[in-house]
Amino acid sequence: MTNPSTRPAAPQATQSEDIVLRTENVSVYYGAFEAVRNVYLDIPKNKVVAFIGPSGCGKSTLLRCYNRLNDLIPSARVTGKIAYQNNDLYDPKVDPVEVRRRIGMVFQRPNPFPKSIYENIAFGARVNGYKGDMDELVERSLRSAALWDETKDKLKQSGLALSGGQQQRLCIARTIAIEPEVILMDEPCSALDPISTLRVEDLMHELKQRFTIIIVTHNMQQASRVADYTGFFNAEAAEGGSRFGYLVEYEKTESVFNAPREKSTQDYVSGRFG
């Protein structure tokens, strides 16, 4: 078992790549409770990175650090350093709203705005100061999210009238429209049926040409299908009985699934626990 408080000794899987996000010794606390401890992890550009692990191991918590969404929880506190292209995300001078414009997010449950399909996409672009041809942007975003054919005749209809899978693709289209560099996805398929899930996964393969994607998933097949790199998180009991999450192993996806270095990774990916 790795001592989670030290940097993994093995060479970083992502050494030779162009790094977008650097995570150095990051721990997240909710009040006195430590949710994630001492994570070192680099996210390479134009790749899909999956976070897997059992519930309560802090993968979603870590994901929410990358766009400062934890700021919304008053008791949350982040230590360590997260650098986005060499800028410290948690520098007091950094505007969290600006961070979220560069690092978009797709949530677990589809959450279109109570507006028309068109407005769902146009709104995000407008708040980000987009001045160009809005019709063209809406079409382009919907096409990128593989939703154009289904919605081109009903752009004025409410986004809430779509099916769950379509809503989630609308949320992806909305995120694409603001042209972020990184897209965070927090279990984006957990509320979708298998066919919608496949469509979203296909979409991810296309999107990684233009974006860097970090996806949290409970579905290991999904991680093995979409991810270039996979980080396995686990939870462990700390002194006093409360559990904290930590990064066990972070490697190319094939090696995490086929030749994991750690016993706990092996157990998890082969379905022996978790």
Binding site: R101, V106, P114, K115, V127
Partner: protein
């Protein structure tokens, strides 16, 4: 499930277990149903009798020389005919002033407590105050308006009446607006944050539009309440026999007209009070139905 178990279940259903409901239980059930129906009858009796009396006494006067009650001024004592056009206008004016004051403050208060305060000390305190305010007797609201408007302006006025009504409308508007804001799922707020919208952009372009049906409901309910209030208007708006010429003068309202004319010793005034009461009740029912249809259009 094993075959054995299903056999057993069949055994029980076919075997004779007491499926007959005893006569005593049947009678007890009938008795209780009868009691409940009687209670319902008693509960709607006041409304029924009020409507009956209003229709019986008010309808004939309403259609006497129709539409004179809507167009003419209150008659002097012992003169036949007349109407209360000034009081109808006065009720509309004072309620409008009340709404103009209470809607912006009420909606902004709700936005603070739900969207920005998020359960902090101040928003808890505001919520507590709202509850207290909704329990304040309406005559106290009238005293408040008397103290801050009538005394400082030096005379009774439509504005003073409107201020008094706004105090009564405020808690209703705050509460319905809060309900509306809370009905919006937190996922939508996260989505707004996720696309890089500022709080202001999120609230003004997404949250508030989605809350509009609730706010409209609150406003109509508050108007229905305010239209029927008499006590706060007695010593703020006072009364006037004539059409209002400005907002800083005493103004007639339907509720105060009913109060004045119902206790007047003249038959014509009494019957005018019945007609006015009928109009107020119809108005309030209409507004309540409107409020229901508005809520039916809500998004979440």
């Amino acid at each position: 499930m094993t075959l054995n178990q299903s056999d057993k279940i069949q055994d029980i259903t076919s075997g004779g277990f007491d499926s007959e409901v005893t006569a005593a239980r049947k009678n007890f059930g009938k008795l209780m149903t009868g009691l409940v129906v009687a209670c319902v009858g008693i509960a709607i009796l006041p409304l029924g009798s009020i409507l009956f009396m209003l229709l019986k006494n008010g309808l004939s006067r309403l259609f006497l020389n129709f539409p004179s009650v809507f167009t003419e001024l209150p008659p002097p004592p012992l003169v036949e005919g007349g109407g209360f056009s000034n009081a109808i206008m006065g009720t509309i004016i004072t309620c409008t002033i009340g709404a103009l004051l209470s809607v912006p403050f009420g909606v902004l208060t709700a936005i603070y407590t739900v969207e920005f305060g998020r359960g902090n000390k101040l928003s808890q305190f505001v919520r507590f105050c709202t509850n207290v305010l909704s329990g304040v007797p309406s005559i106290i609201a009238g005293l408040f308006a008397y103290g801050i408007v009538v005394l400082t302006m030096g005379n009774f006025s439509a504005i003073a009446g409107g201020v008094a009504l706004s105090v009564l409308m405020m808690p209703i508007i705050i509460r319905t607006a809060e309900e509306g804001l809370k009905s919006i799922p937190s996922e939508v707020r996260q989505g707004l944050v996720g696309i890089g919208a500022t709080n202001f952009q999120g609230v003004t372009s997404v949250i508030l539009p989605a809350t509009l049906p609730f706010i409209a409901t609150g406003v109509t309910l508050a108007l229905a309440r305010a239209a029927g209030e008499t006590a706060p208007l007695l010593f703020t708006a006072l009364f006037s026999q004539f059409q209002a010429r400005s907002l800083s003068e005493p103004i007639a309202t339907l509720s105060v007209l009913i109060y004045n004319f119902a206790i007047a010793p003249y038959a014509n005034q009494n019957s005018l009070a019945w007609a006015a009461a009928l109009i107020i009740v119809v108005l309030i029912m209409f507004v309540s139905i409107l409020a229901r249809t508005l809520t039916a259009r809500k998004i979440y």
